[in-house]
Symmetry: C2
Subunit: 249 residues, 2 copies
Amino acid sequence: MLATAAAPLKTDCQLCPVRSCLVHRGDTTQAGAWSEMLAPRQALMPDDGALHRAGDRLRALYSVRGGCVKAFTVDAAGNERIRGFYFPGDLIGLDALAGGVALSTAVAVVPSQVCVAPLADLNALMTETPGIALRVMEQISRELALAMALAGEYTAEQRLAAFLLYLRQRTGTGLDGCLRLPMAQRDVGNYLRLANETVCRTLKRFEQKGWLTPVGRGLRLVDEAALRDAAAAVGIVKPGLAQTLAQAA
Amino acid sequence: MLATAAAPLKTDCQLCPVRSCLVHRGDTTQAGAWSEMLAPRQALMPDDGALHRAGDRLRALYSVRGGCVKAFTVDAAGNERIRGFYFPGDLIGLDALAGGVALSTAVAVVPSQVCVAPLADLNALMTETPGIALRVMEQISRELALAMALAGEYTAEQRLAAFLLYLRQRTGTGLDGCLRLPMAQRDVGNYLRLANETVCRTLKRFEQKGWLTPVGRGLRLVDEAALRDAAAAVGIVKPGLAQTLAQAA
DNA sequence: CGTCACTTTGAGGCTAGTCAACGGCGGTGG
DNA sequence: CCACCGCCGTTGACTAGCCTCAAAGTGACG
């Protein structure tokens, strides 16, 4: 099961390094209220249990503090379908707000850390401090936009390019300027509705085109503009120069 | 452009026939507050202009009162991508809450009517009456679940079966028990990521299997259980008897 | 009654999936 | 320390579902 942080202290959000998280998007009143509510952080390890499972009555939202969490469903045939990856600053469990029941199972992809926002407290908090509700709503709205982008009909190249750029935007690059894929290629493909072989082949094609180069375990995005152009149709990244010029012509 | 309802009266939600709309899901206080806010209804006709266009700063959410509205984006190549259909009770524009800018263009598919919820008023209302925020959040969460279902990897039969059942659930059947498709097959295909020819052929295959029969301009779902089984994997409808038995075996 | 948009039907092609086999890497245990 | 094992990534050949293109049929509407 989950390894709970040793110290049963309330988390001090003011000191949280995650600049994109909810508390950093509101005023100090909201930040304080949010901070008050959060339960101690939880450490999450791959193969170490799930935050919640599909069908569970959801008891808390989780705010990712570090690492990467994937949410997936399992259909009747036992096939896993990855519904989303969550990075630092993301809230997990938003898709369960409607029914109160989790639609997916959430597990860590790499060693991760989350903050716990109990639903009961959250509801009370949103009632007392309406600004919080607006922030949460923004997050859901963002996730909705992402899901809709993913729902579109795109080629393997378009989807993968968009995913790489999204990943870089969310996780940044390492010290060496390289993008590291925290999850397996199989997971990327599952998420993007591509066979893992297709992910591999498409990455190779990108490499042959000179758009990226493999560096150790990571990738260096060499021609980011080209990737942006390829991904432009998906709509979650802005087009690069070539695309802009093409549109102007 | 839009044809505004003649009478500049506030809409009385208490009398609204749409039982699934937001006001009917809260208590009387919420209902009253919501009702107070709504601007006069707007009549919407196909080819008569858009509620809002992609890129517009969104000024209001719209609550569908009757008819059917489609939301779509247009990519650089001019291709239309339908992001969703909205039926009575649905809120339009939720995907814009994050950025304040509409991500899609919304137009009527058939003669329709919407109620207008100005964003400024809505924000104030959600602050004063937090229950409203929770309702709106439920709606977004619901839409998110739908988008995620659509984002899955399914065959043409699975997607179309799921869509037909979803449509019937949302619009009900006519007096003759027939399901009417308000939108063109091309729009259905666009939404489901299928060529319109594929939609047509798949419908024909359903007909040959005896799952449905065309009745005039509509469809009669003859073997709904079979459709449910076909659509079960998509997850937005419950499986029928055959599927349940198969799982038990 | 003609036009136009939508639907239907057919033939052919392509993208990506499936299946199979191999290579590389890390972990585990002897 | 090294051999073994399992997972992941890679590569090739083949397949299949769906798209594309083309053309004819149907209904709505002016």
